[in-house]
């Protein structure tokens, strides 16, 4: 490619209208996610129905968690979310990992480790005698 072929004409090639295509594309993206959203809206009701048929005590899928004050609830959620990210997403997971592997100087770990070594010695003797 080079600079001379810059131009609006590129958007309307022989059999391909880029703007129209983009519009359609956004349509498909919205289509997919809207259907998912609708499905999500209606599923719980279906589940409840089927449960009622089977007289299963209906799980209160509708109500909000706990009975704390609005403020408490929000903080709780934030903590939960933060914790979820913290555990499940690399950038943070690494820190957990790091903790449990990296920081050697923490006295707790060192003592733990030394203990570990002694235990280990015992264990492997078990290993032999088994």
């Amino acid at each position: 490619m080079s600079f001379e072929n810059i131009g609006l004409s590129n958007l309307f090639a022989a059999n391909f209208n880029a703007l129209w295509f983009s519009l359609m594309g956004m349509g498909v993206v919205f289509g997919g996610l809207v259907v998912i959203a609708l499905y999500i809206v209606f599923l719980p009701r279906l589940l409840k129905l089927s449960d009622r048929k089977k007289n299963i005590p209906v799980e209160s899928a509708g109500e909000t968690t706990g009975d704390k004050t609005q403020r408490e609830k929000e903080m709780l959620l934030a903590v939960a979310a933060a914790y979820h990210l913290h555990r499940n997403f690399p950038e943070d997971n690494e820190r957990i990992t790091w903790k449990s592997h990296g920081d050697m100087e923490s006295p707790w770990r060192v003592s733990g480790r030394l203990h570990g070594l002694s235990v280990r010695r015992k264990l492997s003797s078990w290993g032999l005698s088994e």
């Binding site: 490619m1 590129n10 594309g25 956004m26 498909v28 499905y39 209160s60 909000t64 929000e74």
Partner: protein
């Protein structure tokens, strides 16, 4: 073998300025990752890969990712054949909790709106004279999703894979820098302090059924997204079924780590100055930046549009989380929200558009691939 031969066989003989520039880039990536903690799991492998890829290989020796039969060539195969990205999606699926999305489906639309960044960038790339497939591959940078970008460019425009991947990951790392100004620009203080109602509890059954139905919907509407979303939702089913936790664990730990190491390193190693430092790459970086800005704006503005019709208003900041970059953009939203009102906790709510954005850009990738792949 004379002294001269030995010098010829050293890297100094063929070293060019471009290589030094790229090596500097690699070092900067590592520096940012170590000191600023920007996406270290990606920038460190990519950064070191860039350094390795810019040591001039000996003429004819199987050393670089482009030299058939070299070890790096085989590792790079996983990128060129598009194998690594779906495996990463498998792990991400096994990490992702779709609860918030399930408990507040309205927010999903924000993830769709943000994909405007993909298509406008596509149009912009065409305008700048890129070929249609190339334009599609560049557009997907706006998806703010590394694996999706790599997958689509390996299929549509392998010759641009290096710059596209680097651009995508660089901007993802810079999300905390790029997004806030736009968020302040497009929202009023009154909007930024809107609180969201806490989401309802989601039953285990809903969580198990979701990945199956969601895959069927996406797969049927855009079969081109089958590879990425099949793996994403497969991983999520492994997680939610609770019967296959050991598989989910391996998918989100050992497997994704191995693939991340190989993908990051070999993508980095593919950025040899000789092929990387071109005017095209500059265009791609400009377009990439644009795509992130457009995507963020798109999400925010659509949220404001929705508010015109909703009695229970959405905090428009959440729109910015539509540009995946999981989970950084969600964190940015939360941080900005708290700066206005410390009692406002948007993090969990922001996860909904965030993961919806992943699905959205995978669908967009499927559409672009099937339409522009020349099938």
């Amino acid at each position: 073998m004379s002294l001269a031969d030995f010098f010829q066989n050293s890297g100094f003989a063929a070293l060019e300025w471009g290589n030094l520039v790229m090596i500097a880039v690699g070092v900067i990536f590592i520096y940012l990752a170590v000191t600023r903690d920007y996406e270290p799991l990606l920038l460190i492998p990519i950064g070191f890969g860039i350094i390795v890829g810019n040591i001039p290989p000996i003429e004819g020796m199987p050393l670089s990712v482009y030299a058939e039969g070299s070890v790096f060539y085989y590792l790079y195969m996983g990128v060129m054949k598009g194998i690594y990205p779906p495996l990463i999606f498998l792990g991400i699926g096994a990490m992702t909790d779709f609860s918030t999305m399930l408990s507040n489906p309205k927010l999903i639309l924000l993830g769709a709106a943000a994909q405007i960044g993909v298509f406008l960038t596509f149009v912009g790339s065409l305008f700048l004279g890129f070929s249609t497939p190339q334009a599609g591959a560049i557009g997907i940078i706006g998806g703010a999703d590394g694996p999706t970008a790599i997958f689509l460019s390996s299929m549509l425009a392998p010759e641009l894979l290096g710059p596209i991947a680097i651009a995508a990951y660089s901007y993802m790392a810079l999300v905390p820098v790029i997004q806030p100004p736009i968020m302040y620009l497009l929202t009023s203080k009154k909007e930024r302090v809107i609180h969201m109602a806490p989401p309802r509890k989601v039953s285990r059954r809903e969580k198990i059924i979701f990945p199956i139905v969601a895959f069927l919907i996406c797969g049927l509407i855009a079969p081109g997204s089958m590879t990425l979303l099949g793996m994403l939702f497969f991983g999520n089913l492994l997680k939610e079924s609770t019967r296959t936790e050991r598989l989910a664990n391996t998918a989100r730990n050992g497997l994704i780590d191995i693939v991340t190491i190989l993908l990051g390193f070999s993508v980095g190693a593919s950025t040899q100055a000789q092929t990387f430092l071109t005017p095209q790459s500059i265009f791609i970086f400009v377009l990439g930046a644009a795509s992130f800005i457009i995507a963020t704006s798109g999400g925010i503005l659509f949220a404001k549009l929705m508010n015109l019709f909703l009695k229970k208003k959405i905090n428009p900041l959440l729109g910015a989380a539509g540009v995946s970059a999981v989970p950084d953009s969600a964190r940015v939203v939360h941080a900005v929200g708290q700066k206005e009102d410390p009692s406002n906790f948007l993090l969990m709510h922001a996860m909904a558009p965030n993961v919806a954005g992943v699905i959205g850009s995978a669908i967009a990738a499927g559409v672009l691939w099937s339409a522009l792949g020349g099938f």
